[in-house]
Symmetry: C2
Subunit: 214 residues, 2 copies
DNA sequence: GTAGAATTGACAATATTTTAACATAAGTTG
DNA sequence: CAACTTATGTTAAAATATTGTCAATTCTAC
């Protein structure tokens, strides 16, 4: 059904959703692409073009209904589904993500956590126990897990990702600092925090060089 | 000096650096753009084009010297500097980032953590004490802080970012789920984790729709 | 209800990014 | 050391993405 929407467009949808959510909270009923473009600091053309990839959600002479557009974008992003997820790696980052309540509001339900460190087994995050890695395969198969979050050091990430996929996982949110090499039917979203920090570093240096700073 | 390098190019540099680091570890001395393109699953053209934004680092008939290219990209990214950073928000995510030792290897030194919750004041991450927000302005001014990492809920992020900038901060790594509106001389790198998760959600739904899945 | 204002969706025009092609320079082999 | 191979840097072409324009439609006010 879907043609091929570019990832650049997909990448902007969550931001639209965020602004529309804020407008909803302020009980704003309707908004035009040009008003929204001022708020978001993008062109009105881009907003209209992005939305029209998915259909015509607006009305000429009126603009867009905030509630309606919000719910349509939610649907596009697949947020009306409920997803079960597990976290592999119960270190600080794993615990931080597991403890983040807002994910649950969006339909992402934490079902289990895993770690190989014996001292972490049995500890809890929001009532979810950390289990040993040995239990991972059977747990995935028996609990309808949609998404695995990988928060382990890069050394273990590739082999663990293969175990995940072998047991039926089709989506991985990867925080390990390595690229996973998996079949095309597995959706992988990488969050490489060091890369992001290096980008910041570049922009600091580059700004300083161009402005005679230190 | 620098012309205007697109952020798309900058965004790819850390990945090049990562692969070159791995090659260094394996004592590979030289590599051609086409060999690297196979490893990284990008076109050789893109690699050459990206690098030539910054100068000619290779040699015809030979390729690129791995050590040399690694160090050049490091310089481009500003990683030969040392940066002092602080973390605002000592929750799970703040602690996770504060505890991440690899940042220090890259020259990012954790100098302080701040939180408004009284029960967190005085706790430590790697020997760095969590301080109350009241001490933030003077601490920034007296300790040569380059980067502030924002790991607080979105409600507080905008006002706190203004305090940071008023006291001399020129770079923010923003994990709060809100866009900061700051002067152009402040470099902001956003990490919107929910946005990333929504992208994954989209790709799951979209794949399923196009392949007759659930 | 009619005239004028507002605003979309579609399309056209730009701009940017990515990929391909190739002349040129350096390395390699016999 | 000459012929051949390799592989860059650069320029050109193709593909994508963004922005601008405008006819058509709906809203709004009188």
């Amino acid at each position: 059904m879907d043609k091929d929407i570019s990832q650049a467009v997909i990448g902007r949808l969550p931001r639209y959703l965020r602004y529309l959510g804020e407008l909803k909270d302020k009980n704003v009923e309707r908004i035009s692409s040009s008003e929204l473009s001022v708020l978001m600091k993008v062109t009105a053309s881009q907003i209209r073009q992005d939305l029209n990839n998915f259909g015509g959600f607006g009305q000429q002479g009126y603009g867009y209904n905030v509630d309606y557009l919000y719910s349509e974008i939610s649907k596009i992003l697949g947020l009306e589904h409920q997803y079960n997820f597990i976290i592999i790696g119960a270190g600080n980052l794993g615990k931080a993500l597991g403890g983040y309540l807002n994910f649950e509001k969006r339909g992402f339900m934490l079902k289990g956590m895993f770690d190989k460190a014996p001292e972490l087994i049995g500890t809890e995050v929001r009532g979810v126990k950390v289990m040993p890695m040995e239990e991972l395969p059977s747990f995935i198969r028996n609990n309808n897990i949609d998404i695995a979050v990988l928060t382990i050091p890069k050394e273990g990430a590739v082999p663990v990702s293969k175990v995940l996929v072998d047991n039926g996982i089709r989506a991985i949110w990867n925080f390990a600092h390595v690229d996973l090499d998996l079949p095309e039917y597995v959706q992988v979203e990488n969050v490489h925090l060091s890369d992001s920090l290096m980008k910041l570093s570049y922009n600091i240096s580059s700004y300083n060089e161009n402005n005679g700073g230190k």
